[in-house]
Symmetry: C2
């Protein structure tokens, strides 16, 4: 890929003093690396940007390790970039101003599971799958599923969500409290394990979504949910995107408590059929999952089938047995890899707009028309119950013109979403990539408030600098 | 009542220059008042504190009015206190450093209802009942119900909740976006109408619960919900508080989606029986409400009845018809006035702790023992599905010793809740009354972060000064 970070977006790389290197080695021994391979690995994420390696990588094993690293970096004015599982999508991890990457993947302990309270406290490096593995015998689960096996710390930092958010909310709703190392090395805890509180400013929500720019999240208390007694799945094809989306809108408006409702367009279905050797109708399709008691999932599926029928949905297939459900949902789960094979050797760039659901049909249909004129294969999948959808633009990494075309399409869909009172990012975050869009979305005064908060908590701009918005107005 | 604000808690009253009075009169004419009666009315709330009147009251009718008032006050360094319906409980509205109260009750327009998106945008002075009245023909409702007919602006500012939070969340989960006038007169909008977003710092959640100390909230976009197809209610008596609370814990843990579950202790039931001429068993009692389809509310009620039976619950009465439901819930709704009549001429002071549900039984039982030793009648009611309960301490306003006893009991229950990883306030906020508890709950470093944010957004301490935490460390 040849997509350098735009130089205007960030300040110059800061010096990395030899004294700091020595101090880090003294403090961390084998757990600090300055090797080219390790640095290169930590200077990239799943974004289209060329890697920008940090100067060193510290492998933290405790909140105290993080504090030590932050204090040492602070002494020399060197930036800090928290690193979880490397699955972020918008350039969050690139060391654009140099600095030290703090790899939290070694902080992988589930510290406590409180089954009675439906909470768990984990270190930041615990991945969502690892947490669910730890919950296996409790009858509980952690529902947030952004696709990648992201770390809970990273998911908190980007305010992630995914397929289950329509029923269970996003990280915003599911983080109860945090331990955070601030820029000056102080360690604060936010929130309590109580389900609600009116005790002062909502620091938890301030750090959730702050993308490492206000502090390093080291521990997280999250909400858990009882595994549903019954789960059923359904899939249904529609003649047009509009019909599919109107089915979703009505489902939500009637208050049917769907656990998942995913949209997959005809091109993505074609990709899935090829990849998984399936014979789904190659037209816009909805995948549903229902959670509840036996009676309630049956009722939900029937209700949705009625709504789908009113919108010309056909071939409504409904499955309650696990193997049948897997068969239906496999198609959705494999969509990403299937889509990549539409264009061998390609890389997918994903848009991430989210609009009010009343505008979703209009937004998707306009977008579909727009994409028709593009030379890039652009399948669409979406968490449509939230109004969130992704265009997976397949580009040849060796062709700058294709990247430019993808950026053009992205810009157009963001402008469309903002016009419809939506957001440029439903779940991926801003990172390096959407700083301009953020300004369009919120306006200079709201960005000014964010900047004032940043200046107050990180007056030397040490925490993941160059991300979300420019430090200087 | 003789309960002056502790002088150590706040800075001295600031001067109110005659020039500002003149400027306000020029700008607002009849819509500014300096009469003693109007000032006295705006210097009180439902807290036990003696009123502290502002120097003037501006009756705002628009965001621009608020900006004008804020800018004029800013010019003279005079504080601003936003005023909704006056129903706050912790001294939020008292003009402890003097200043201008901005009465937002005239900003009472429902600006838009987006039935398809399940959102409404309202001016800050719209009360929750007025919003639900405006929604009458839409099939939707706004669920947050703190008891009082509070303004949506005030509910946002205190992060209010109430009986429905166990199912629908609090103001934290139900505010999508805000319009806020900042201390320097800038107007910012936060959030969008999209259901989720990862676009930058969560300014919406920063202002929700900030109690007027970071800006004046003038418009709010909230989430709405479809009216449930079916509603049923149930009431059940238990031999002990522990049995009742354990029933709640199991109900929540099994994931039964109760819409409301309220605890009322034996003393409160006695009060209700006298007041409403009812014959409820005078023992710890749970009131339930179930929302869903006909089948699902039946299923929920049956499930809860089974759980209650395992915990010695008796006389489980279940009602689906509206008049039967009203009969059951009337008892709970009238509890406050009924309790006041346990001690004629008394005033109720309410505690507001919230603990993890696993500790709720222990917390309530210890509290019950504690109260047994007190001369004050202290019935307990609670939103127990959230782990939140209130002791209504009935005191004679003319007897300082009774107030002191109530404060002693409050202190003990807060200490107990904090020891159990809970919060000093589940839904009432901090105001003047819980500033010390806030420090105990979060620690000096977390309060330091809140203070840094306050300093950044309100560097002259003009916005509702003297509340939540002290401005100077």
């Amino acid at each position: 890929m040849n997509h350098p970070v735009p130089p205007a977006a960030v300040n110059p790389r800061r010096p990395f003093p030899a004294d700091l290197a020595t101090a880090l080695k003294t403090a961390f021994g084998e757990r600090v690396s300055m090797s080219e391979a390790v640095r290169a690995h930590h200077g990239r994420d799943e974004s289209p940007f060329d890697p920008v390696p940090p100067d060193a990588v510290v492998f933290a094993q405790s909140t105290d390790d993080v504090r030590t690293a932050v204090e040492l970096c602070g002494r020399y004015g060197v930036p800090i970039i928290p690193y979880g599982n490397g699955s972020s999508l918008e350039g969050h991890l690139l060391a654009v101003e140099g600095g030290v990457s703090i790899d939290l993947s070694g902080m992988n302990r589930v510290l406590s599971i409180n089954a009675e309270d439906l909470t768990a406290t984990v270190e930041a490096g615990v991945s969502r799958k690892a947490l669910n593995e730890a919950l296996r015998d409790t009858g509980l689960f952690f529902p947030i599923d952004p696709g990648a096996d992201a770390s809970i710390g990273g998911m908190s930092a980007t305010r992630a969500s995914g397929t289950n958010a329509v029923r269970y909310g996003t990280m915003r709703e599911n983080v109860l409290g945090l331990t955070v190392v601030l820029a000056d090395g102080r360690i604060v805890t936010t929130g309590t394990r109580a389900r609600k509180s009116s005790a002062g400013y909502d620091l938890t929500r301030l750090f959730v979504g702050s993308e490492g720019t206000l502090g390093v999240i080291t521990e997280i208390t999250v909400r858990l949910y009882p595994l549903p007694e019954a789960v059923s799945a359904a899939v249904c094809a529609f003649p047009t995107m509009g019909d599919a989306v109107r089915t979703v809108i009505e489902t939500i408006q009637l208050g049917v408590p769907v656990a998942r409702v995913e949209f997959v367009d005809a091109l993505a279905i074609r990709a899935i059929n090829r990849h998984s050797n399936m014979t789904l109708t190659e037209s816009p399709t909805l995948f549903f999952e229902f959670h509840g008691t036996d009676a309630s999932v049956a009722e939900q599926a029937e209700r949705v089938q009625e709504i789908a029928a009113e919108h010309a949905g056909s071939g409504f297939a409904w499955a309650t047995r696990p193997e049948e459900r897997s068969r239906l949902w496999n198609a959705r789960h494999n969509a990403y890899f299937a889509m990549l094979q539409l264009k061998p050797g390609s890389r997918a760039l994903s848009t991430d707009v989210c609009v009010p659901i009343s505008r979703l049909a209009e937004c998707v249909v306009e977008t579909e028309e727009d994409l028709r004129g593009s030379p890039l294969p652009c399948p669409i999948v979406g968490h449509v119950g939230d109004g969130n959808f992704h265009i997976c633009m397949l580009i040849d990494p060796a062709k700058p013109a294709e990247l430019a075309e993808a950026e053009r399409l992205n810009r157009r869909v963001v402008e469309r979403a903002l016009r419809m009172d939506g957001t440029c990012t439903g779940e991926h975050g801003v990172g390096l990539h959407k700083m301009g869009f953020l300004l369009d979305e919120h306006g200079a005064d709201a960005i000014g408030v964010m900047r004032a908060v940043k200046h107050a908590l990180d007056p030397r701009n040490l925490m993941n600098p160059g991300k979300i918005f420019s430090y200087d107005a």
